[in-house]
Protein backbone atom coordinates (compact mmCIF):
# COMPACT_ATOMS: atom_id res chain seq x y z
CA UNK A 1 0.00 0.00 0.00
CA UNK A 2 1.27 3.47 -0.89
CA UNK A 3 0.33 6.27 1.47
CA UNK A 4 0.98 9.99 1.02
CA UNK A 5 0.85 12.44 3.90
CA UNK A 6 0.64 16.16 3.05
CA UNK A 7 2.08 18.09 5.98
CA UNK A 8 2.44 21.80 6.47
CA UNK A 9 5.07 23.82 8.25
CA UNK A 10 3.47 26.35 10.62
CA UNK A 11 4.70 28.74 13.30
CA UNK A 12 4.86 27.07 16.69
CA UNK A 13 1.75 28.18 18.55
CA UNK A 14 2.24 27.15 22.16
CA UNK A 15 4.64 29.98 22.85
CA UNK A 16 2.73 32.55 20.87
CA UNK A 17 2.97 35.94 22.53
CA UNK A 18 0.54 38.72 21.95
CA UNK A 19 1.66 42.30 21.53
CA UNK A 20 -0.30 44.04 24.32
CA UNK A 21 -0.27 47.34 22.38
CA UNK A 22 -1.59 46.15 19.05
CA UNK A 23 -3.23 42.91 20.13
CA UNK A 24 -1.48 41.02 17.34
CA UNK A 25 0.66 37.93 17.43
CA UNK A 26 4.37 38.57 17.71
CA UNK A 27 5.60 36.41 14.85
CA UNK A 28 9.29 37.13 14.93
CA UNK A 29 11.38 34.54 16.66
CA UNK A 30 8.63 31.94 16.38
CA UNK A 31 9.94 28.52 15.58
CA UNK A 32 8.41 26.56 12.72
CA UNK A 33 7.05 23.10 13.38
CA UNK A 34 5.01 20.40 11.73
CA UNK A 35 1.37 21.53 11.89
CA UNK A 36 0.38 19.84 15.18
CA UNK A 37 -2.77 18.38 13.61
CA UNK A 38 -0.67 16.76 10.86
CA UNK A 39 1.12 14.68 13.52
CA UNK A 40 -2.09 12.67 13.84
CA UNK A 41 -2.01 12.04 10.08
CA UNK A 42 1.61 10.91 10.27
CA UNK A 43 0.88 8.64 13.24
CA UNK A 44 -2.11 7.10 11.45
CA UNK A 45 0.05 6.36 8.42
CA UNK A 46 2.84 4.83 10.50
CA UNK A 47 0.34 2.59 12.29
CA UNK A 48 -1.08 1.41 8.97
CA UNK A 49 2.46 0.64 7.85
CA UNK A 50 2.98 -1.41 11.00
CA UNK A 51 -0.32 -3.28 10.71
CA UNK A 52 -0.73 -3.83 6.95
CA UNK A 53 2.59 -2.84 5.43
CA UNK A 54 2.86 0.42 3.52
CA UNK A 55 5.32 2.79 1.92
CA UNK A 56 4.95 6.29 3.36
CA UNK A 57 5.79 9.55 1.61
CA UNK A 58 5.38 12.88 3.40
CA UNK A 59 4.95 15.85 1.09
CA UNK A 60 5.09 19.50 1.98
CA UNK A 61 4.67 22.66 -0.05
CA UNK A 62 6.44 25.68 1.32
CA UNK A 63 9.69 27.61 1.44
CA UNK A 64 13.04 25.72 1.50
CA UNK A 65 12.91 25.66 5.33
CA UNK A 66 9.94 23.29 5.08
CA UNK A 67 12.59 20.61 4.45
CA UNK A 68 12.81 20.49 8.22
CA UNK A 69 9.28 19.15 8.71
CA UNK A 70 9.88 16.46 6.07
CA UNK A 71 13.00 15.34 7.94
CA UNK A 72 10.94 15.17 11.09
CA UNK A 73 8.34 13.02 9.31
CA UNK A 74 11.09 10.66 8.22
CA UNK A 75 12.48 10.61 11.75
CA UNK A 76 9.03 9.55 12.98
CA UNK A 77 8.86 6.68 10.51
CA UNK A 78 8.06 7.86 6.98
CA UNK A 79 10.07 6.28 4.17
CA UNK A 80 10.36 9.32 1.92
CA UNK A 81 9.80 13.04 1.80
CA UNK A 82 9.13 15.40 -1.09
CA UNK A 83 9.45 19.17 -0.88
CA UNK A 84 7.34 21.25 -3.25
CA UNK A 85 8.99 24.62 -3.36
CA UNK A 86 9.17 27.49 -5.82
CA UNK A 87 8.84 31.26 -5.59
CA UNK A 88 5.97 30.96 -8.06
CA UNK A 89 3.94 28.96 -5.49
CA UNK A 90 4.08 31.75 -2.89
CA UNK A 91 0.86 33.37 -1.68
CA UNK A 92 -1.32 30.49 -2.84
CA UNK A 93 -4.81 30.20 -1.35
CA UNK A 94 -6.36 26.79 -0.67
CA UNK A 95 -7.49 26.44 -4.29
CA UNK A 96 -4.01 27.03 -5.72
CA UNK A 97 -2.28 25.11 -2.91
CA UNK A 98 -4.44 22.06 -3.45
CA UNK A 99 -3.85 22.28 -7.23
CA UNK A 100 -0.07 22.36 -6.82
CA UNK A 101 -0.12 19.55 -4.24
CA UNK A 102 -2.34 17.42 -6.47
CA UNK A 103 0.03 17.88 -9.43
CA UNK A 104 2.92 16.81 -7.21
CA UNK A 105 0.90 13.74 -6.23
CA UNK A 106 0.26 12.92 -9.90
CA UNK A 107 3.98 13.20 -10.56
CA UNK A 108 4.65 10.69 -7.79
CA UNK A 109 2.47 8.11 -9.56
CA UNK A 110 -0.09 5.69 -8.19
CA UNK A 111 -1.12 5.83 -4.56
CA UNK A 112 -3.69 4.07 -2.40
CA UNK A 113 -4.37 6.52 0.40
CA UNK A 114 -3.72 10.16 1.22
CA UNK A 115 -3.92 11.12 4.90
CA UNK A 116 -4.12 14.85 5.59
CA UNK A 117 -4.49 16.76 8.83
CA UNK A 118 -7.89 18.13 9.75
CA UNK A 119 -6.67 21.70 9.34
CA UNK A 120 -3.53 23.77 9.61
CA UNK A 121 -3.18 25.87 12.74
CA UNK A 122 -2.15 28.97 10.79
CA UNK A 123 -4.46 29.00 7.76
CA UNK A 124 -7.11 27.17 9.75
CA UNK A 125 -9.41 26.45 6.81
CA UNK A 126 -9.62 22.63 6.71
CA UNK A 127 -10.08 23.06 2.97
CA UNK A 128 -6.87 21.74 1.46
CA UNK A 129 -7.59 18.05 2.19
CA UNK A 130 -11.01 17.81 0.50
CA UNK A 131 -9.76 20.11 -2.28
CA UNK A 132 -6.88 17.75 -3.13
CA UNK A 133 -9.42 14.92 -3.34
CA UNK A 134 -11.48 16.99 -5.78
CA UNK A 135 -8.48 17.67 -8.05
CA UNK A 136 -7.57 13.98 -8.09
CA UNK A 137 -11.21 12.88 -8.35
CA UNK A 138 -10.92 10.43 -5.48
CA UNK A 139 -13.46 9.98 -2.68
CA UNK A 140 -12.88 11.83 0.56
CA UNK A 141 -13.80 11.29 4.21
CA UNK A 142 -13.09 14.15 6.60
CA UNK A 143 -12.91 14.17 10.43
CA UNK A 144 -11.94 10.49 10.54
CA UNK A 145 -11.65 9.37 14.16
CA UNK A 146 -11.04 5.67 13.63
CA UNK A 147 -9.88 3.24 10.97
CA UNK A 148 -11.73 0.01 11.67
CA UNK A 149 -10.41 -2.16 8.89
CA UNK A 150 -8.55 -2.30 5.60
CA UNK A 151 -9.82 -5.16 3.47
CA UNK A 152 -10.05 -6.00 -0.23
CA UNK A 153 -8.81 -2.56 -1.30
CA UNK A 154 -11.42 -0.81 0.84
CA UNK A 155 -10.99 1.19 4.00
CA UNK A 156 -13.63 1.10 6.76
CA UNK A 157 -13.83 4.27 8.84
CA UNK A 158 -15.64 6.30 11.43
CA UNK A 159 -16.06 10.07 11.08
CA UNK A 160 -16.85 12.42 13.93
CA UNK A 161 -19.87 14.44 12.79
CA UNK A 162 -22.67 16.39 14.46
CA UNK A 163 -24.92 13.34 14.77
CA UNK A 164 -22.30 11.07 16.30
CA UNK A 165 -19.82 8.82 14.55
CA UNK A 166 -20.70 8.12 10.93
CA UNK A 167 -19.53 4.72 9.72
CA UNK A 168 -18.53 4.34 6.10
CA UNK A 169 -16.24 2.58 3.69
CA UNK A 170 -14.46 3.70 0.53
CA UNK A 171 -12.29 2.01 -2.10
CA UNK A 172 -8.64 2.93 -2.69
CA UNK A 173 -7.43 5.32 -3.93
CA UNK A 174 -9.00 7.83 -1.59
CA UNK A 175 -8.23 10.64 0.82
CA UNK A 176 -8.99 11.02 4.51
CA UNK A 177 -8.46 13.83 6.99
CA UNK A 178 -8.06 12.80 10.61
CA UNK A 179 -8.89 14.29 14.01
CA UNK A 180 -6.91 14.13 17.24
CA UNK A 181 -8.98 11.24 18.57
CA UNK A 182 -7.51 8.81 16.03
CA UNK A 183 -4.12 8.18 17.72
CA UNK A 184 -1.47 9.62 19.98
CA UNK A 185 1.49 10.73 17.86
CA UNK A 186 4.87 9.19 18.65
CA UNK A 187 8.11 11.10 18.96
CA UNK A 188 10.88 10.80 16.40
CA UNK A 189 13.35 8.02 17.22
CA UNK A 190 17.11 8.46 17.39
CA UNK A 191 17.53 5.95 14.58
CA UNK A 192 14.99 7.84 12.54
CA UNK A 193 16.74 11.12 13.17
CA UNK A 194 20.04 9.68 11.95
CA UNK A 195 18.36 8.26 8.87
CA UNK A 196 16.64 11.53 8.07
CA UNK A 197 19.78 13.58 8.50
CA UNK A 198 21.55 11.85 5.64
CA UNK A 199 18.52 11.43 3.46
CA UNK A 200 18.23 13.23 0.13
CA UNK A 201 14.81 14.81 -0.14
CA UNK A 202 13.79 15.61 -3.71
CA UNK A 203 12.47 19.08 -4.49
CA UNK A 204 9.64 19.57 -6.97
CA UNK A 205 9.62 22.99 -8.61
CA UNK A 206 7.72 24.71 -11.39
CA UNK A 207 10.55 23.52 -13.65
CA UNK A 208 10.15 19.80 -13.08
CA UNK A 209 6.36 19.63 -12.59
CA UNK A 210 3.53 19.67 -15.09
CA UNK A 211 1.63 22.82 -14.11
CA UNK A 212 -0.82 25.30 -15.51
CA UNK A 213 0.96 28.62 -14.86
CA UNK A 214 -2.39 30.37 -14.37
CA UNK A 215 -3.20 28.19 -11.36
CA UNK A 216 -0.13 29.02 -9.25
CA UNK A 217 0.60 31.15 -6.23
CA UNK A 218 -0.96 34.48 -5.44
CA UNK A 219 -1.79 35.17 -9.11
CA UNK A 220 -3.59 31.86 -9.54
CA UNK A 221 -5.61 32.22 -6.32
CA UNK A 222 -9.30 33.07 -6.70
CA UNK A 223 -9.43 34.65 -3.24
CA UNK A 224 -7.61 37.90 -2.47
CA UNK A 225 -6.96 39.35 0.97
CA UNK A 226 -8.24 42.93 1.00
CA UNK A 227 -7.23 43.92 4.52
CA UNK A 228 -6.16 42.64 7.91
CA UNK A 229 -7.61 44.09 11.11
CA UNK A 230 -7.05 43.50 14.76
CA UNK A 231 -10.41 42.77 16.35
CA UNK A 232 -11.49 45.39 18.84
CA UNK A 233 -11.89 44.02 22.31
CA UNK A 234 -15.44 45.02 23.13
CA UNK A 235 -15.85 42.93 26.24
CA UNK A 236 -17.10 44.89 29.23
CA UNK A 237 -15.06 42.71 31.52
CA UNK A 238 -16.63 42.85 34.93
CA UNK A 239 -14.66 40.85 37.50
CA UNK A 240 -16.04 40.00 40.94
CA UNK A 241 -14.35 38.29 43.88
CA UNK A 242 -15.85 35.28 45.60
CA UNK A 243 -13.72 34.71 48.66
CA UNK A 244 -15.73 34.54 51.89
CA UNK A 245 -19.41 33.56 52.20
CA UNK A 246 -20.64 37.06 51.71
CA UNK A 247 -18.76 37.80 48.50
CA UNK A 248 -19.54 34.30 47.26
CA UNK A 249 -23.27 34.90 47.60
CA UNK A 250 -22.98 38.33 46.07
CA UNK A 251 -21.04 36.91 43.11
CA UNK A 252 -23.58 34.15 42.51
CA UNK A 253 -26.42 36.69 42.68
CA UNK A 254 -24.64 38.95 40.25
CA UNK A 255 -24.09 36.08 37.87
CA UNK A 256 -27.81 35.33 37.82
CA UNK A 257 -28.55 39.03 37.20
CA UNK A 258 -26.00 39.00 34.39
CA UNK A 259 -27.78 36.04 32.76
CA UNK A 260 -31.11 37.81 33.12
CA UNK A 261 -29.84 41.07 31.65
CA UNK A 262 -28.34 39.28 28.68
CA UNK A 263 -31.56 37.44 28.02
CA UNK A 264 -30.15 34.01 28.80
CA UNK A 265 -32.64 33.39 31.61
Amino acid sequence: MKILIPIKQVPESSNVKMDPETGTVIRSGLESVVNPLDLYALETAIRLKESCGAELTAISMGPPQAMKVLKEAVAMGCDHGVLISDRKFGGADTWATSYTLSQAIRKLGDFDLIIAGERATDGDTAQVGPAIAAWLDVPVATYVSKISEVKDSRIYLERLVEEGYQMLSMPFPCLITVVKEIAVPRLPTLKGKIRSRDMEIPVFTSENMDLNPDFLGLKGSPTKVVRINTPKVTRSGKIVQAGDDESLNAAADEFVVFLEEKGIL
Binding site: S14, A126, Q166, E181, L265
Partner: protein, 333 residues
Protein backbone atom coordinates in the same frame (compact mmCIF):
# COMPACT_ATOMS: atom_id res chain seq x y z
CA UNK B 1 -26.64 40.15 -11.05
CA UNK B 2 -27.40 36.53 -10.25
CA UNK B 3 -29.00 34.85 -7.25
CA UNK B 4 -27.61 34.51 -3.76
CA UNK B 5 -27.71 30.90 -2.55
CA UNK B 6 -27.53 29.38 0.89
CA UNK B 7 -27.28 25.65 1.50
CA UNK B 8 -29.86 24.07 3.78
CA UNK B 9 -28.93 20.97 5.77
CA UNK B 10 -31.15 18.14 6.90
CA UNK B 11 -30.92 15.02 9.01
CA UNK B 12 -33.67 12.40 9.03
CA UNK B 13 -36.04 14.75 7.24
CA UNK B 14 -35.57 17.60 9.73
CA UNK B 15 -33.99 20.86 8.65
CA UNK B 16 -31.04 21.84 10.79
CA UNK B 17 -31.07 25.24 12.48
CA UNK B 18 -28.05 26.37 10.47
CA UNK B 19 -30.26 26.39 7.38
CA UNK B 20 -32.20 29.31 8.86
CA UNK B 21 -29.15 31.08 10.26
CA UNK B 22 -27.65 31.16 6.78
CA UNK B 23 -30.84 32.63 5.37
CA UNK B 24 -30.57 35.67 7.64
CA UNK B 25 -27.03 36.22 6.30
CA UNK B 26 -28.17 35.63 2.74
CA UNK B 27 -31.18 37.93 3.11
CA UNK B 28 -28.98 40.92 3.97
CA UNK B 29 -26.74 40.27 0.97
CA UNK B 30 -29.59 39.63 -1.47
CA UNK B 31 -31.32 42.85 -0.35
CA UNK B 32 -28.17 44.87 -0.96
CA UNK B 33 -27.72 43.32 -4.39
CA UNK B 34 -31.47 43.36 -5.13
CA UNK B 35 -31.45 39.74 -6.28
CA UNK B 36 -33.47 36.70 -5.19
CA UNK B 37 -32.32 34.62 -2.23
CA UNK B 38 -32.45 30.88 -2.82
CA UNK B 39 -32.23 28.10 -0.25
CA UNK B 40 -30.80 24.97 -1.85
CA UNK B 41 -31.54 21.66 -0.20
CA UNK B 42 -29.94 18.35 -1.11
CA UNK B 43 -31.20 15.45 0.98
CA UNK B 44 -34.28 13.43 1.66
CA UNK B 45 -37.60 13.47 3.45
CA UNK B 46 -38.09 17.17 4.16
CA UNK B 47 -41.82 17.71 3.68
CA UNK B 48 -43.65 20.62 2.09
CA UNK B 49 -44.39 22.49 5.33
CA UNK B 50 -40.76 22.37 6.37
CA UNK B 51 -39.68 23.60 2.96
CA UNK B 52 -42.20 26.44 3.44
CA UNK B 53 -40.36 27.41 6.60
CA UNK B 54 -37.29 28.25 4.48
CA UNK B 55 -39.42 30.84 2.70
CA UNK B 56 -40.95 32.11 5.92
CA UNK B 57 -37.46 32.65 7.24
CA UNK B 58 -36.14 34.65 4.33
CA UNK B 59 -35.82 32.66 1.10
CA UNK B 60 -37.50 33.83 -2.10
CA UNK B 61 -37.05 30.45 -3.71
CA UNK B 62 -36.26 26.92 -2.65
CA UNK B 63 -34.49 24.45 -4.93
CA UNK B 64 -34.92 21.02 -3.40
CA UNK B 65 -33.27 17.90 -4.76
CA UNK B 66 -34.60 15.08 -2.60
CA UNK B 67 -34.28 11.34 -2.94
CA UNK B 68 -33.82 8.43 -0.53
CA UNK B 69 -30.41 7.93 -2.17
CA UNK B 70 -29.42 11.38 -0.87
CA UNK B 71 -30.41 10.77 2.74
CA UNK B 72 -26.78 10.55 3.91
CA UNK B 73 -24.19 13.15 3.08
CA UNK B 74 -21.77 11.70 0.53
CA UNK B 75 -19.42 14.42 -0.62
CA UNK B 76 -18.85 13.22 -4.19
CA UNK B 77 -22.55 12.80 -4.95
CA UNK B 78 -23.65 16.01 -3.27
CA UNK B 79 -20.86 17.88 -5.10
CA UNK B 80 -22.09 16.58 -8.44
CA UNK B 81 -25.69 17.53 -7.69
CA UNK B 82 -24.65 20.97 -6.47
CA UNK B 83 -22.24 21.41 -9.38
CA UNK B 84 -25.03 20.71 -11.87
CA UNK B 85 -27.25 23.34 -10.19
CA UNK B 86 -24.40 25.86 -10.21
CA UNK B 87 -23.80 25.24 -13.93
CA UNK B 88 -27.47 25.78 -14.69
CA UNK B 89 -28.17 28.85 -12.55
CA UNK B 90 -24.76 30.48 -12.09
CA UNK B 91 -25.38 31.98 -8.65
CA UNK B 92 -23.23 34.95 -7.69
CA UNK B 93 -22.83 33.87 -4.06
CA UNK B 94 -23.02 30.49 -2.34
CA UNK B 95 -22.98 30.22 1.46
CA UNK B 96 -22.87 27.05 3.52
CA UNK B 97 -22.50 26.29 7.20
CA UNK B 98 -19.07 25.41 8.58
CA UNK B 99 -20.34 22.00 9.66
CA UNK B 100 -18.69 18.65 9.02
CA UNK B 101 -20.55 18.34 5.73
CA UNK B 102 -20.34 22.02 4.71
CA UNK B 103 -16.61 22.06 5.33
CA UNK B 104 -16.21 19.00 3.12
CA UNK B 105 -18.64 19.77 0.31
CA UNK B 106 -17.62 23.41 -0.20
CA UNK B 107 -13.88 22.91 -0.86
CA UNK B 108 -14.64 19.92 -3.09
CA UNK B 109 -17.19 21.98 -5.04
CA UNK B 110 -14.97 25.08 -5.19
CA UNK B 111 -12.24 23.13 -6.94
CA UNK B 112 -14.64 21.71 -9.51
CA UNK B 113 -16.29 25.11 -10.08
CA UNK B 114 -12.97 26.99 -10.15
CA UNK B 115 -14.35 29.26 -7.46
CA UNK B 116 -12.79 30.97 -4.46
CA UNK B 117 -13.82 29.80 -1.00
CA UNK B 118 -13.36 31.49 2.35
CA UNK B 119 -13.70 29.42 5.52
CA UNK B 120 -15.47 30.33 8.75
CA UNK B 121 -16.61 33.83 7.92
CA UNK B 122 -17.93 35.87 10.81
CA UNK B 123 -18.97 38.89 8.74
CA UNK B 124 -20.25 39.14 5.20
CA UNK B 125 -20.91 42.34 3.31
CA UNK B 126 -21.18 43.72 -0.19
CA UNK B 127 -18.50 46.05 -1.49
CA UNK B 128 -19.85 49.41 -2.66
CA UNK B 129 -19.52 49.89 -6.37
CA UNK B 130 -18.32 46.45 -7.40
CA UNK B 131 -20.99 44.37 -5.67
CA UNK B 132 -18.27 41.91 -4.65
CA UNK B 133 -18.76 39.84 -1.52
CA UNK B 134 -16.52 40.93 1.36
CA UNK B 135 -15.77 37.97 3.56
CA UNK B 136 -14.26 38.55 6.99
CA UNK B 137 -12.83 35.68 8.99
CA UNK B 138 -10.71 35.24 12.08
CA UNK B 139 -7.17 34.02 11.42
CA UNK B 140 -4.27 32.94 13.61
CA UNK B 141 -6.45 31.66 16.41
CA UNK B 142 -8.82 34.63 16.23
CA UNK B 143 -6.05 37.14 16.87
CA UNK B 144 -6.54 38.94 13.58
CA UNK B 145 -9.45 39.41 11.19
CA UNK B 146 -8.81 39.07 7.47
CA UNK B 147 -11.19 40.46 4.86
CA UNK B 148 -11.15 38.52 1.63
CA UNK B 149 -12.84 38.87 -1.72
CA UNK B 150 -13.08 36.87 -4.91
CA UNK B 151 -13.23 39.46 -7.67
CA UNK B 152 -12.93 37.31 -10.80
CA UNK B 153 -14.59 34.00 -10.00
CA UNK B 154 -18.20 32.97 -9.52
CA UNK B 155 -19.85 31.81 -7.40
CA UNK B 156 -18.21 33.58 -4.49
CA UNK B 157 -18.23 30.86 -1.87
CA UNK B 158 -18.00 31.06 1.91
CA UNK B 159 -18.69 28.95 4.96
CA UNK B 160 -20.17 30.50 8.09
CA UNK B 161 -19.88 29.18 11.62
CA UNK B 162 -23.05 27.73 13.12
CA UNK B 163 -24.60 30.04 15.76
CA UNK B 164 -22.68 33.06 14.52
CA UNK B 165 -25.93 34.59 13.25
CA UNK B 166 -29.54 34.42 14.40
CA UNK B 167 -32.35 33.12 12.22
CA UNK B 168 -35.00 35.61 11.13
CA UNK B 169 -38.34 35.30 12.87
CA UNK B 170 -40.87 33.19 10.99
CA UNK B 171 -43.08 35.33 8.79
CA UNK B 172 -46.08 33.41 7.47
CA UNK B 173 -46.99 36.20 5.07
CA UNK B 174 -43.82 35.80 3.01
CA UNK B 175 -44.29 34.29 -0.42
CA UNK B 176 -41.91 32.35 -2.62
CA UNK B 177 -41.57 29.38 -4.91
CA UNK B 178 -40.53 25.84 -4.13
CA UNK B 179 -38.95 23.98 -7.04
CA UNK B 180 -38.57 20.25 -6.61
CA UNK B 181 -35.82 18.93 -8.82
CA UNK B 182 -35.70 15.17 -9.37
CA UNK B 183 -32.36 13.47 -8.80
CA UNK B 184 -30.52 12.55 -11.97
CA UNK B 185 -29.22 9.13 -10.94
CA UNK B 186 -26.17 9.40 -13.17
CA UNK B 187 -24.85 11.87 -10.57
CA UNK B 188 -24.73 9.22 -7.84
CA UNK B 189 -21.22 8.22 -6.84
CA UNK B 190 -21.24 4.61 -5.69
CA UNK B 191 -17.73 4.52 -4.27
CA UNK B 192 -18.51 5.63 -0.72
CA UNK B 193 -20.89 3.44 1.27
CA UNK B 194 -22.38 4.89 4.45
CA UNK B 195 -23.37 2.11 6.84
CA UNK B 196 -24.81 4.06 9.78
CA UNK B 197 -24.15 6.09 12.88
CA UNK B 198 -22.81 5.27 16.30
CA UNK B 199 -23.62 7.58 19.18
CA UNK B 200 -21.82 7.89 22.45
CA UNK B 201 -24.05 6.25 24.99
CA UNK B 202 -24.89 9.10 27.32
CA UNK B 203 -24.46 12.60 26.08
CA UNK B 204 -23.27 12.99 22.55
CA UNK B 205 -23.06 16.69 22.11
CA UNK B 206 -23.28 18.87 19.14
CA UNK B 207 -21.19 21.61 20.67
CA UNK B 208 -21.10 23.78 17.57
CA UNK B 209 -24.86 24.05 17.47
CA UNK B 210 -25.40 24.68 21.17
CA UNK B 211 -26.57 28.14 22.30
CA UNK B 212 -24.93 27.71 25.67
CA UNK B 213 -21.71 25.88 26.44
CA UNK B 214 -20.47 25.20 29.96
CA UNK B 215 -16.85 24.09 29.78
CA UNK B 216 -14.54 22.63 32.40
CA UNK B 217 -10.77 22.43 32.62
CA UNK B 218 -8.00 20.99 34.71
CA UNK B 219 -9.13 23.10 37.66
CA UNK B 220 -11.97 20.60 38.16
CA UNK B 221 -9.34 18.12 39.35
CA UNK B 222 -11.15 14.87 38.47
CA UNK B 223 -13.72 13.29 36.16
CA UNK B 224 -16.50 13.07 38.77
CA UNK B 225 -16.42 16.82 39.23
CA UNK B 226 -17.70 17.24 35.69
CA UNK B 227 -20.97 16.16 37.26
CA UNK B 228 -21.58 19.70 38.50
CA UNK B 229 -20.72 21.09 35.06
CA UNK B 230 -23.20 18.73 33.45
CA UNK B 231 -25.87 19.69 35.93
CA UNK B 232 -25.34 23.39 35.33
CA UNK B 233 -25.44 22.80 31.58
CA UNK B 234 -28.67 20.82 31.91
CA UNK B 235 -30.26 23.56 33.97
CA UNK B 236 -29.35 26.22 31.42
CA UNK B 237 -30.20 24.03 28.45
CA UNK B 238 -26.60 23.96 27.28
CA UNK B 239 -23.89 21.50 26.27
CA UNK B 240 -20.71 20.51 28.09
CA UNK B 241 -17.30 21.45 26.72
CA UNK B 242 -13.79 20.73 27.95
CA UNK B 243 -10.17 21.78 27.51
CA UNK B 244 -7.56 19.51 26.05
CA UNK B 245 -6.14 18.99 29.51
CA UNK B 246 -9.49 17.62 30.68
CA UNK B 247 -9.94 15.45 27.57
CA UNK B 248 -6.41 14.05 27.65
CA UNK B 249 -6.96 13.05 31.26
CA UNK B 250 -10.02 11.10 30.19
CA UNK B 251 -12.46 13.28 32.14
CA UNK B 252 -14.48 14.00 29.01
CA UNK B 253 -14.60 12.49 25.52
CA UNK B 254 -12.89 14.13 22.57
CA UNK B 255 -16.18 15.30 20.99
CA UNK B 256 -16.34 17.79 23.90
CA UNK B 257 -12.93 19.34 23.28
CA UNK B 258 -12.89 23.03 22.42
CA UNK B 259 -9.95 24.78 20.83
CA UNK B 260 -7.23 24.53 18.26
CA UNK B 261 -7.24 20.74 18.13
CA UNK B 262 -10.93 20.45 18.97
CA UNK B 263 -14.04 22.39 18.04
CA UNK B 264 -14.56 26.05 17.35
CA UNK B 265 -17.77 27.39 18.83
CA UNK B 266 -19.79 30.61 18.64
CA UNK B 267 -22.50 30.18 21.27
CA UNK B 268 -24.52 32.96 22.89
CA UNK B 269 -22.94 32.09 26.20
CA UNK B 270 -19.70 30.29 27.04
CA UNK B 271 -18.84 29.65 30.68
CA UNK B 272 -15.30 28.42 31.38
CA UNK B 273 -14.76 26.83 34.78
CA UNK B 274 -11.27 25.99 36.06
CA UNK B 275 -9.84 26.93 32.67
CA UNK B 276 -6.70 29.04 32.43
CA UNK B 277 -7.39 30.40 28.94
CA UNK B 278 -4.41 29.13 26.97
CA UNK B 279 -4.17 30.60 23.49
CA UNK B 280 -5.06 27.24 21.92
CA UNK B 281 -8.25 27.05 23.95
CA UNK B 282 -9.15 30.69 23.26
CA UNK B 283 -8.86 29.99 19.53
CA UNK B 284 -12.01 27.92 19.85
CA UNK B 285 -14.13 30.39 21.83
CA UNK B 286 -13.17 33.87 20.61
CA UNK B 287 -16.32 34.32 18.56
CA UNK B 288 -18.65 33.50 21.45
CA UNK B 289 -21.14 36.29 22.15
CA UNK B 290 -20.68 36.25 25.93
CA UNK B 291 -17.74 34.80 27.83
CA UNK B 292 -17.86 34.01 31.54
CA UNK B 293 -14.87 32.80 33.51
CA UNK B 294 -14.84 31.11 36.90
CA UNK B 295 -11.30 30.65 38.15
CA UNK B 296 -9.52 30.96 41.50
CA UNK B 297 -6.53 32.65 39.89
CA UNK B 298 -7.21 36.39 39.42
CA UNK B 299 -4.54 36.50 36.71
CA UNK B 300 -5.98 33.70 34.58
CA UNK B 301 -5.95 34.71 30.91
CA UNK B 302 -9.61 33.75 30.52
CA UNK B 303 -10.61 36.41 33.07
CA UNK B 304 -9.04 39.02 30.79
CA UNK B 305 -11.24 38.00 27.90
CA UNK B 306 -14.39 37.55 29.94
CA UNK B 307 -17.51 39.71 29.96
CA UNK B 308 -18.05 38.50 33.47
CA UNK B 309 -15.47 36.86 35.68
CA UNK B 310 -15.73 35.32 39.11
CA UNK B 311 -12.47 34.95 41.00
CA UNK B 312 -13.17 32.08 43.32
CA UNK B 313 -13.13 28.37 44.01
CA UNK B 314 -15.24 26.53 41.43
CA UNK B 315 -16.32 24.02 44.05
CA UNK B 316 -18.02 26.82 45.97
CA UNK B 317 -19.07 29.13 43.15
CA UNK B 318 -20.75 26.57 40.91
CA UNK B 319 -22.93 25.03 43.63
CA UNK B 320 -23.92 28.55 44.79
CA UNK B 321 -25.01 29.40 41.25
CA UNK B 322 -26.76 26.06 40.86
CA UNK B 323 -28.71 26.66 44.07
CA UNK B 324 -30.01 29.98 42.77
CA UNK B 325 -30.97 28.60 39.40
CA UNK B 326 -32.80 25.66 40.99
CA UNK B 327 -34.63 28.02 43.28
CA UNK B 328 -35.62 30.20 40.36
CA UNK B 329 -36.96 27.17 38.50
CA UNK B 330 -39.05 26.13 41.47
CA UNK B 331 -40.49 29.62 41.83
CA UNK B 332 -41.43 29.65 38.15
CA UNK B 333 -43.50 26.53 38.51
Amino acid sequence: MNEVWTLAEQHNGQLKAVSFELLSRGRALADKLKVPLVSVLIGDGVDESRLRELIERGADKVYAVQDPKLSHFVCETYAKVLGRLIDEHKPSILLAAATSSGRTLMPYTAVKAHAGLTADCTELDIEEGTGNLLQTRPAIGGNIMATIKTPDHRPQMATVRPKSSRPLARDASRTGTITKIPLDETLLDQRVQVTGYRKDAEDFVNLEEADIVIAGGRGLKKAENFGMIRKLADTLGGAVGATREAVDRGWMGYPHQIGLSGKTISPKLYVGIGISGAIQHLAGIKTSELIVSINSDPDAALHKLADFGIVGDAFQVVPAIQKRLDQRKREDQ
